[in-house]
């Protein structure tokens, strides 16, 4: 069971929703002038997301737990009313980060409870594994005492491999490939830290659910003000870095994989690291400057200006001795980012997205010659 404080940290859980319902407040109530404090909190929640701020530890006085809890549904309502797809991504990403921040500070049983509700239930470990763990730990009395106190803080958590797959989708890196997991009888064994990382993904999805609903907006002046100011703020972030033009690159020549990754980045989706890597090296190879490339990623929900700038420059060789090559089609395929390959992709000799770009260029120029 979660206490009041904990519930307010994970406002997307069923328990939190029930508690809010139990307070018998209507949307109108929450938007009324008496509750400005809730509205302010909701607004700053969203603004933090737009600014990509780090999560702050709670410093809360009496009554503020309720404010915090109530600010979540209000913030959701405002985000949905603004109806901007970038804002939705930024907001849900930020709420996911927030959940992770607090989860790291919970004991294991709480983490598991929350995991279970978000579709990542713990399973009983595979029989032979348990026997081995038991044997290893039994003689160590001190350690087992410690474990009793803090829950199985050091133990492995076993989750079903399909839950694992669905949750890891947007996390990249070799550590997250199924092939590198402890996989026994359909269960993947993960450590606490990875378990929390997976829960964060689920939380993010849960937050995102239903935000694209375009609710009818009540005639409330305060609400309308907030919506307008947020729209400006969102525009501000977008404009500050907007990918004005794609320089020397010709969109129509892009291979389908790059088109998809580019589209996802511009739509503010969080794309896996290796997809981003592929796009950057590719665009660099077709002659875009790192400044132009940088602008593409400014709508990503986890956008942090200095980090992205560093990454892009690192990959394109601006800030390091090595510059990286664009990946081959094989690499793209095994990374699961060879999106919608078309007829040209099906050609045996087509082994890299760059080649696709080159061929398309040739075709175009010859057809232009023919036309003129």
């Amino acid at each position: 069971m979660l206490d009041k404080n904990q519930i307010s940290r994970y406002p997307f859980l069923k328990e939190a929703k029930e508690r809010v319902r139990g307070m018998n407040l209507t949307l109108d109530d929450m938007l009324s002038p008496e509750n400005t404090i809730i509205q302010e909190r909701a607004l700053s929640r969203i603004e933090e997301a737009v600014d990509g701020k780090d999560i702050q530890p709670e410093t809360r006085g009496v009554g503020e737990v309720e404010t915090d809890l109530l600010s979540y549904p209000v913030a959701r309502f405002i985000v949905a009313s603004v109806g901007d797809k970038h804002l939705i991504k930024w907001f849900s990403h930020h709420e996911g980060e927030r959940a992770k921040f607090f989860l790291h500070r919970e004991d294991m049983d709480t983490v598991k409870d929350i995991g279970r509700e978000l579709g990542l239930p713990e399973n009983e470990g595979p029989a032979d594994m348990k026997a081995k763990e038991g044997k290893k730990r039994f003689p160590d009395v001190k350690r087992s005492l410690h474990r009793e106190r803090s829950g199985s803080e050091t133990g492995t958590i076993w989750i079903s491999f399909t839950d694992f797959l669905v949750s890891r989708k947007n996390i990249s890196g070799p550590d997250w490939n199924l092939v590198n997991q402890k996989l026994v009888g359909g269960l993947v064994g993960v450590e606490r830290k990875s378990y929390i990382r997976l829960i964060q993904e689920r939380a993010k999805e849960k937050v995102e659910e239903g935000l694209d609903g375009h609710p009818p907006i009540p005639n409330n002046i305060r609400l309308k003000e907030m919506i307008t100011s947020l729209k400006l703020k969102v525009e501000g972030r977008r404009k500050k870095y907007s990918p004005t033009e794609l320089g020397k690159m010709t969109i129509t020549r892009l291979p389908p994989c790059m088109r998809q990754i580019l589209g996802m980045s511009q739509a503010g989706e969080n794309i896996p690291h290796h997809a981003r890597f592929a796009l950057v090296t590719f665009l660099n190879a077709v002659g875009m400057s790192s400044e132009e490339i940088f602008k593409i990623f400014t709508t990503a929900p986890d956008f942090k200006e200095d980090i992205v700038r560093y990454q892009v420059e690192h990959i394109t060789g601006g800030s390091s001795a090595t510059s990286y090559h664009a990946p081959s089609c094989d690499t793209m395929k095994s990374g699961g980012v060879c999106f919608n390959p078309d007829g040209l992709c099906g050609k045996e000799w087509l082994n890299t997205p760059l080649y696709y770009y080159k061929i398309k260029g040739k075709k175009r120029s010859t057809s232009q010659e023919n036309a003129s």
Binding site: F161, K169, P174, L178, V179, V184, G185, G186, G189
Partner: protein
């Protein structure tokens, strides 16, 4: 004698060849006698058919009742019949993009086919079948029911009617996995993207509390690690056992073959160094260490260890059909051959096999569906194969054979109807 393409030989402009007429007649007779039992939730699936003498597949077909399926097969007797692994709200909707908007989930399919075996070309048909059978057993018991722990009652094994086997998994938890999730499963089975850094992280060895001294090593974390760590560990043991009794020269050839099957680029010299390090330089001491799993200390150069591990992986993984170029498992919209139908290139039936008696299953006996009525054919090429328990050794020229064999010969363009 020149081979005549039966599908091309025409006696008149609008007339089909005798062979084609014979073949489609065989299927017509069969489907009149035997019903095709429609698959699970068939009304939600898209169907596709390839007619005899046709040039393309007819897709986007749907059936609402079992009788419709039945009468379709009876009347059309298609050369090839397929249905979608996907379930759709509206399976006949076109274009595909529109239909896919009503996607409800897809069976998880594995396709093991001889044409993907590294040496398929040099093998006879029965040899290919036997080889694929060994792979499918491992796929099924080690991976699908083993590591992946998928429920046996939802897992179906079928002979494909051609040169391989299909495994269909229909449990709820896999239905909604998307193509990226399925790619992860394929990578797991084929051992692609294994990362030795992740699997074997460095650890402290020989720690001496008195002096606080220690060495760093990597080791098999066999105790608490299943998955590929365990498989590499066991694969290494099996490989070592095979190598132990060999001469140096044979060891190299053996490793070379595994490497090339696994598309690992390595020269003979490099393999020579590897076997020397294990077996010949230290009078077998290293071999003991490899056996005891301390393989990380045997090779002085990291790339030697990596090559050795890669070979062990190739030795322990499975070759799925179209691993890279034609991903069957990851394609959630794919059409798959319909169980119960006949395969137009062999006349054999796509049938379900009891997973536990796969050893007793002989496609060239158990998948025969056509009758043994005598048919006169004109053999074009020497042919020998055992079918339905009889060894056939045919020389070019006229001969009378049972219908199922006649079909097999004609369809593979080894004989004409006389």
């Amino acid at each position: 004698m020149r081979l005549v393409d039966p599908h091309m030989r025409r006696s008149g402009d609008n007339e089909v060849s005798r062979e084609l007429r014979f073949m489609s007649g065989c299927f017509r007779d069969h489907y009149r006698r035997e019903h095709v039992i429609p698959p699970y939730r068939f009304t939600r699936r898209e169907w596709g058919f390839f007619p005899f003498g046709g040039k393309m597949m007819f897709r986007h077909i749907g059936f609402l009742k079992q009788e419709e399926v039945d009468s379709f097969f009876r009347e059309s007797a298609p050369m090839h019949a397929y249905y979608s692994v996907a379930y759709y709200g509206d399976p006949v909707l076109q274009p595909m993009g529109e239909k896919f908007k009503t996607w409800m989930g897809s069976d998880l399919i594995f396709d093991l086919d001889a044409d993907h075996l590294p040496e398929a070309d040099s093998m006879t048909y029965p040899e290919q079948l036997a080889e694929v059978k060994e792979e499918v057993k491992r796929l099924l018991f080690e991976f699908i029911l083993g590591d992946l722990g998928l429920p046996e009652e939802h897992t179906y094994l079928h002979f494909s009617g051609g040169r391989g086997y299909h495994v269909h998994v229909r449990s709820p938890e896999v239905m909604t996995l998307d193509s990226r999730d399925r790619r992860q499963i394929v990578d797991y089975i084929t051992g692609r993207n294994l990362d030795f850094e992740v699997l074997f992280p460095p650890k402290v060895k020989d720690y001496n509390p008195k002096y606080h001294s220690y060495k760093m090593t990597r080791n098999f974390r066999i105790r608490d690690f299943g998955g590929w760590v365990k498989r590499i560990y066991e694969g290494k043991d099996a490989l070592m056992k095979e190598l132990e009794s060999m001469e140096r020269k044979n060891q190299i050839t053996h490793l070379m073959k595994i490497a090339s099957d696994g598309k690992i680029k390595v020269g003979e010299q490099a393999l020579g160094t590897i076997v020397d390090k294990i077996f010949w330089e230290s009078k077998g001491k290293s071999a003991t260490r490899v056996n005891e799993s301390d393989i990380f200390d045997v090779f002085p150069m990291p790339h030697q260890l990596e090559t050795f591990l890669n070979i062990v992986v190739a030795f322990s993984s499975i070759h799925l059909k179209g691993e890279t170029d034609e991903p069957v498992t990851t394609d959630i919209k794919r059409l798959i051959r319909c169980p119960g139908s006949l395969h137009g290139k062999t006349g054999l039936k796509v049938i379900e096999i009891d997973k536990h008696s796969i050893d007793d299953f002989d496609p060239l006996v158990n998948a025969i569906a056509l009758s043994d009525d005598p048919v006169n054919v004109d053999v074009q090429e020497p042919f020998s194969m055992s079918m339905n328990g009889t060894d056939w050794n045919l020389e070019p020229g006229p001969v009378t054979v049972p219908k199922y064999l006649a079909y097999f010969l004609v369809a593979r363009r080894l004989a004409l109807i006389s």
